[in-house]
């Protein structure tokens, strides 16, 4: 089995990013990925899992997610319900303990890649609540007095949009990588992995417009990689001739989404 992460067919990683992933694996530390939206943070975990031939466990974080949910949930309602009808085994709490994503990753017999996606969406205390679990790779179920220990230490990848500062104690334990916005060369490669048969000229002109818009100083929401990919797709489907892109800005709404930005683009045009 492959033990090093390399760029895959669907995902183009910069050399630094690959180095970060491999260092994180070697040092057995969680890898924290930050970057502009649309730079492929979430896709990275999928690519790592594919490249290493491991199963991917995704834990999507929302603003209401609590750390406990990743470990286990004690289904008290079910127990109450069962208790009302004198169901068998109500006194066995273990029946009502359901493992969360982290628990699932720990209990897995084979090593998995665990993605904790958009950790900054949760409450500010959230990362701190996971310190011990990520460090020791184990947790304790109070209700049943059982310790769940990782059979194979999972490869942990955490993404953050930098909406909130993460606590220092948490950061100290991570390997950090900041995904820079891809330069033209890398971007070309990225678009080509999505649309291998794209017409050279169309891509060239589309990229020119894209970086031109990103370069306008007053733009509030800069278009991201994923938006470029959508735009290129729209251009291809629409059969737009390559040489009219800069002049007519077809489907520009795909890459520029704010009204005020559209105006800015038109003014600069």
């Amino acid at each position: 089995m492959q033990t090093e992460f390399k760029s895959t067919g669907e995902y183009v990683a910069s050399e630094q990013l690959m180095a970060s992933v491999n260092v994180a694996i070697a040092l057995k530390k969680p890898l924290l990925i930050k970057g502009e939206p649309g730079t492929g943070k979430t896709m990275l975990a999928q690519a790592v899992a594919n490249s290493l031939g491991k199963k991917l466990v995704i834990w999507n974080i929302k603003s209401t997610t609590k750390a406990q949910e990743g470990l286990y949930v004690y289904d008290t309602i079910q127990r109450l319900y069962d208790g009302q009808f004198g169901e068998e085994g109500v006194d066995d709490i273990a029946r009502y303990i359901k493992l969360g994503k982290l628990g699932e990753a720990f209990e897995s017999d084979e090593q998995v890649v665990l993605l904790i996606d958009e950790i900054d969406k949760a409450d500010l205390e959230f990362p701190n609540d996971l310190l011990w679990e990520l460090d020791q790779m184990e947790f304790y179920i109070h209700e049943t007095k059982r310790t769940v220990k990782a059979k194979q230490r999972p490869i942990v990848i955490i993404t953050s949009n930098a909406e909130k500062e993460l606590p220092d104690a948490f950061l100290r334990r991570c390997i950090f990588h900041y995904i820079d916005f891809p330069d033209k060369e890398l971007m070309e490669e990225i678009v080509k992995t999505h649309y291998p048969e794209i017409e050279e000229n169309l891509l060239k002109n589309a990229m020119e417009v894209f970086y031109w818009i990103r370069g306008i100083r007053d733009i509030r929401k800069k278009p991201s990689t994923s938006e470029l990919i959508d735009w290129v797709n729209a251009l291809q489907l629409g059969g737009i001739p390559a040489d009219t892109l800069m002049e007519k800005l077809p489907f520009v709404g795909v890459i520029v989404k704010k009204d005020e930005d559209l105006e800015t683009v038109k003014n600069h045009h």
Partner: protein, 400 residues
């Protein structure tokens, strides 16, 4: 050698802990850097630095410790620091900026400029701002930053480089530094900090904790036992007062961003925003245009916005002394019988938490700026930067 690196990082203001340092040693032990300086640069950075805002500091420390390895004709960091003067940008007029933006489109004799530039790099030994020979800011030679010459070499900037020192030389991450001026996204992020401190501590327990109730009831043999908890709600009320006077015009974009950011942060219980011209007097305006008549009485504000409002005042505090001290110092509206200073003191008496954010604050005591010095004595004053806003949020949330 590595011990020195650790010290230098600390000196540059990076909070590197021993455990991270040991992790780096472990990485070196495992041969993850493959005896390559560039690899070492990246590995050290990913382990020791946890925010892109600190990349620049790291680059500078790295440069200081390992600079013996670089070749001579490269731009020295010392020189880049001379050129890194964001305040110079403010001194340029809008049309000058337009003019500078065209720089890239104009072709010039590159070889000639490059040769002169290399020669000058060798000779130059001090900082130059203005002038027409040395490399510096605001000048007219073909090299340097924020200069007036079209088509020269711009020293400092961000281009795609590979090796460690080239990355450092470009100072790519300079714009991420959090002691630089804010932009709109960063505003919102900083304002969110007000939520961070909206603790559950000072609210009564009014919410039913279902899980605990059910669990307790089960353990209680089915006999209902209710557990209450505190609701998770943000109780922060925010009052934003912004100076919209003449001297603030260069910062109007910045203020607009702050205003937008405050309005987008829908997690506050209540948000009010008013404007004033130079100083707060008997009326505050509803719009940034500060039209007389389109206002509310400051007294009304005192009566209707209670003392729990957290107040952020944004202004350059650059009033003339009489605008602050005279009872008729408001030259474009009524004073209401009090001087500007007295109105500010009334603000202070009314509201428990007030901070003043100043986009062009002097970081050292500046007695020659009379009004600023006086206001600093009245309210905690902080620069309008990411770091400043974060500190301000902390002051606002501190419990008395």
């Amino acid at each position: 050698m590595f011990g020195i690196f650790f010290q230098t990082l600390k000196n540059k203001g990076l909070d590197v802990t021993l455990s991270e340092w040991l992790t780096l040693q472990q990485a070196l032990d495992q041969g993850l850097c493959e005896s390559s300086l560039t690899k070492f640069y990246y590995v050290a950075r990913m382990i020791l630095v946890k925010s892109e805002t600190d990349f620049d500091k790291f680059d500078m420390a790295f440069d200081e410790c390992f600079k013996g390895i670089r070749s001579d004709d490269e731009v020295t960091n010392r020189m880049l620091r001379w050129l890194d003067k964001p305040e110079m940008n403010d001194m340029l007029h809008e049309e000058d900026k337009e003019y500078l933006n065209r720089v890239e489109q104009i072709q010039i004799d590159k070889d000639d400029v490059e040769q002169k530039y290399k020669q000058r790099l060798k000779d130059q030994d001090s900082e130059h701002n203005g002038g027409s020979y040395w490399i510096g800011t605001m000048g007219k030679t073909s090299f340097g930053n924020t200069g007036g010459n079209i088509g020269g070499i711009r020293v400092g900037g961000s281009t795609g480089y590979q090796s460690a020192f080239q990355v450092i030389g470009a100072r790519k991450y300079r714009d991420f530094r959090d002691d630089r001026m804010l932009d709109n996204r960063q505003f919102q992020m900083a304002l969110r900090k007000l939520r961070q401190f909206s603790t559950k501590l000072d609210i009564p327990k009014t919410e039913l904790d279902i899980d605990q109730t059910v669990d307790k009831t089960c353990n209680n043999g089915g006999c209902l036992q209710i557990v209450m908890d505190r609701p998770r709600k943000n109780s922060v009320k925010l009052l934003l007062l912004m100076d919209s006077g003449g001297t603030m015009i260069p910062y109007c974009n910045l203020l607009n961003e702050l205003f937008q950011a405050v309005h987008k942060s829908n997690h506050y219980k209540e948000v009010k925003a008013y404007y004033f011209h130079n100083c707060i007097y008997s009326h505050v305006y509803k719009t940034p245009e500060c039209e007389n008549g389109d206002w509310i009485e400051t007294e009304w504000m005192f009566r209707n916005l209670d003392k729990d409002f957290k107040v952020i005042i944004v202004g350059d505090a650059a009033m003339a002394p009489e605008e602050l001290y005279a009872k008729d110092g408001n030259y474009r509206g009524p004073n209401g019988g009090y001087s500007g200073e007295e109105w500010l003191m009334r603000m202070r008496r009314k509201y428990k938490k007030i901070v003043w954010l100043n986009p062009k604050m002097s970081l050292v005591p500046a007695p020659w700026r009379e009004a600023e010095t006086r206001i600093k004595a009245l309210f905690p004053m902080l620069p309008l930067t990411v770091a400043g806003l974060n500190d301000a949020m902390e002051i606002l949330m501190k419990r008395v």
